[in-house]
C-alpha cells in the first residue's frame, strides 16, 4: 500500500489518528486511550496485517514535557511499513503493553522502561533489561545526569 493509502486506512480505524509529519515513511500519531485496540486491528485487519513489530522505542521531547513512543510495524504479508506513535507525559509515563499482540514487545518494552522509565500496564515481567535492577534514573531521558558523564559538544 502507498503511504497515503495506509494513512487513510489507519484513519478509518481510528478517526483521531493524525499523520505524523517529517517521517520518511507512512506514520501516524494515535491517541493513547484506544491505542491497544488500534494496534490489535492493525495487526488483524486483512489488508493491513502488520504481523511484525519491527522496533519499539521512545523519544524524549523534553521541551514539550512528553515522551513519544514509536512503534515501527511491518507486514511480512503485504510488505509495507507503518510507524505509529503516541505521546505520554514525561512525569506519568504509562502505556498499555503490546505484549499480547506481539510477544517481542515484552522485551522491547522492558528496554524502553529501562532507558526511559515508561511503565507498561499489563506487562508480565516489567524490570530493567540492560541495566542493573538497582540502577537509579532512566539514562536516555534528556535530563539524566551521572557523575561520569561529560558535557556533549555544543
Amino acid at each position: 500500500m502507498e503511504t497515503h493509502e495506509l494513512i487513510s486506512a489507519v484513519q478509518a480505524l481510528e478517526p483521531a489518528a493524525v499523520p505524523r509529519e517529517k517521517v520518511d515513511r507512512a506514520a501516524v500519531v494515535a491517541p493513547v486511550e484506544r491505542f491497544l485496540e488500534l494496534m490489535a486491528r492493525l495487526r488483524d485487519e486483512p489488508d493491513l496485517r502488520f504481523d511484525m513489530l519491527c522496533t519499539h522505542t521512545a523519544i524524549d521531547w523534553i521541551a514539550e514535557a512528553r515522551l513519544e513512543l514509536v512503534y515501527c510495524l511491518y507486514s511480512t504479508v503485504h510488505r509495507h511499513y507503518l510507524v505509529v506513535s503516541a505521546s505520554v507525559p514525561r512525569e506519568a509515563a504509562v502505556m498499555p503493553s503490546m505484549q499480547a499482540l506481539w510477544p517481542i514487545a515484552e522485551w522491547q518494552e522492558r528496554e524502553v522502561y529501562d532507558l526511559f522509565g515508561v511503565r507498561y500496564t499489563g506487562h508480565p515481567d516489567l524490570r530493567r533489561i540492560l541495566l542493573d535492577d538497582d540502577w537509579q534514573g532512566f539514562p536516555l531521558r534528556k535530563d539524566y545526569r551521572d557523575d561520569f558523564m561529560l558535557e556533549g559538544p555544543k
Binding site: 511484525m52 523519544i59 511480512t76 510507524v83 540492560l130 556533549g152 559538544p153
Partner: protein, 380 residues
C-alpha cells in the same frame, strides 16, 4: 490496572518445585558466545525455562550517539555486531544519506555491496566453525577461521582494519579499492568453492550432526514473525523476508540471487539457510567483481559535520544476522536528537525462550548457536 515492576529473583522464583533446579549458564560460558547470561530452570537435563539476563556489555551506544556527529556514530556501530561491521556502517550511512539528501554514485554502491557480501561470507564462516564446536566437533572451528582469514586479509588491504572496519560513511566509502582487490577476490572465490564442499562433507553430511539438528528447536513461521526474528532465523522458518530482495538497496536490485528458505524452522533449516546464503553471496560477488564502475569513492569529506533536516528517518539493511535498523531523529543539528538502533540479535535472542523448553541442555547449546548470537549487538 497498574504497572508492576519485578526483579530477577521474583522472575526466577516463579513456580519452581523441589525436583527442579536453577543453574546459571553464563555470563562466562563457552557456548553463550560472549557475556550473555541464561538462567536455566532444569529438571535433570531437561530445560524447563530459559531466562536471558542481558546487559553485561551495555555501553549506552544510543546515549553516546546523542553527543556525536553522524560520521562519529559510524564508529560505534562497528562495535555492535562486530561480525557485520560493514553492514552496520552502511545502515547509518543510508539513514543519513536519506535524511540529508546526499547522493552517491554507482561505484560507491557497488563497493559497498561487494564488501558487505564478503563480510557476510566471513560472518557465516565464523558461525559455521563455532556451530561445529558447539556440537562438539572442534575441527570445523579451525576450518572456518582458516578461510575467513582470506577474506579479512582482502578487506584489510582496502580498509586497513580487520574487525572494526569503520569504512562505509555517509556519502561514500573511506578508501578506494586496493589495486589487488579484484584479483584477490576472484582467487578467493576459486579457492573457496571447493572448501565449501569440504564443509558439507565434514559437518552437514555427518549423521551425528544431522541427528543433533533435525527437528530440534522448531520455530514456526507465525511465531518467528511475532517474535520479530529476522535474517536466517526467520527465513529458516519459511518466511522469505530478505531486505536485499524486498526493498533492494545498494546494487542488489541489479544482481541475480536467490533467497534460501527453510521448511520447518528447526536447527537444521537455520544451518542449511546459512550455508546456502554463502553460495548466494558468492554468486553476487561473482556478478559484480568483473565490472566495478568508475567514479569517485567519496563524495563528502569525512570531516564535514553533516546537518540533517528535522524529522524521523528509519533505514535498515540486511546483515548476516538479520535486519539492522537505524531510527534517526533529528532536530536539524549536526548531532542526532535521538538515535535508536534496532539490532537483529536483540530480537532474535528471544526465540530461545520459546523454542528451548522441553529440550535438553545440549540442544539448548545447539539452538543458541543456530540463532547465531553476537552479544555486544544485543546489549548495545
Amino acid at each position: 490496572m497498574s504497572a508492576i515492576v519485578t526483579t530477577l529473583e521474583q522472575r526466577i522464583g516463579r513456580g519452581a518445585t523441589t525436583q527442579e533446579f536453577f543453574v546459571n549458564m553464563g555470563p562466562q560460558h563457552p557456548s553463550t558466545h560472549g557475556v550473555l547470561r541464561l538462567v536455566l530452570k532444569l529438571e535433570g537435563e531437561t530445560v524447563k525455562d530459559v531466562i536471558p539476563v542481558l546487559g553485561y556489555v551495555h555501553r549506552g551506544v544510543e546515549k553516546m550517539g546523542e553527543h556525536l556527529s553522524y560520521r562519529q556514530f559510524v564508529h560505534l556501530t562497528d562495535r555492535l555486531d562486530y561480525l557485520s561491521a560493514l553492514a552496520n556502517n552502511w545502515a547509518v550511512a543510508k539513514a543519513v544519506e536519506k535524511a540529508a539528501g546526499i547522493e552517491t554514485n554507482e561505484r560507491i554502491e557497488t563497493i559497498r555491496t561487494l564488501v558487505a557480501e564478503l563480510q557476510r561470507i566471513a560472518s557465516h564462516q565464523l558461525w559455521w566453525g563455532v556451530f561445529g564446536m558447539d556440537l562438539g566437533a572442534f575441527t570445523p572451528f579451525l576450518y572456518g577461521f582458516r578461510d575467513r582469514e582470506r577474506i579479512t586479509d582482502i578487506l584489510e588491504e582496502t580498509i586497513g582494519a580487520r574487525l572494526t572496519m569503520n569504512y562505509i560513511q555517509p556519502g561514500g566509502v573511506m578508501f578506494d579499492l586496493h589495486p589487488d582487490f579484484q584479483r584477490k577476490v576472484k582467487e578467493f572465490i576459486a579457492y573457496f568453492r571447493p572448501k565449501l564442499e569440504e564443509y558439507e562433507t565434514l559437518l552437514s553430511r555427518n549423521i551425528i550432526a544431522q541427528e543433533r539438528m533435525r527437528g530440534v528447536g522448531v520455530l514456526e513461521a507465525a511465531q518467528a514473525v511475532a517474535l520479530g526474528a529476522t535474517g536466517p532465523v526467520l527465513r529458516a522458518s519459511g518466511v522469505a523476508h530478505d531486505l536485499r530482495k524486498s526493498e533492494p538497496y545498494g546494487v542488489y536490485g541489479k544482481v541475480e540471487f536467490d533467497v534460501p528458505v527453510g521448511a520447518r524452522g528447526d536447527c537444521w533449516d537455520r544451518y542449511w539457510v546459512r550455508i546456502e546464503e554463502i553460495r548466494q553471496s558468492l554468486r553476487i560477488i561473482e556478478q559484480l567483481i568483473e565490472n566495478i564502475p568508475e567514479g569517485k569513492h567519496l563524495l563528502v569529506k569525512p570531516a564535514v559535520r553533516t546537518k540533517v533536516p528535522e524529522g524521523i528517518t528509519y533505514s535498515q539493511v540486511e546483515t548476516a544476522r538479520g535486519v539492522f535498523g537505524v531510527l534517526l531523529v533529528s532536530d536539524g543539528k549536526d548531532v542526532p536528537y535521538r538515535i535508536h538502533v534496532r539490532t537483529p540479535n536483540f530480537n532474535n535472542l528471544w526465540a530461545i525462550t520459546r523454542i528451548a523448553p522441553g529440550w535438553r541442555v545440549a540442544d539448548l547449546v545447539t539452538m543458541i548457536s543456530s540463532l547465531d548470537i553476537v552479544v555486544p549487538d544485543i546489549d548495545r
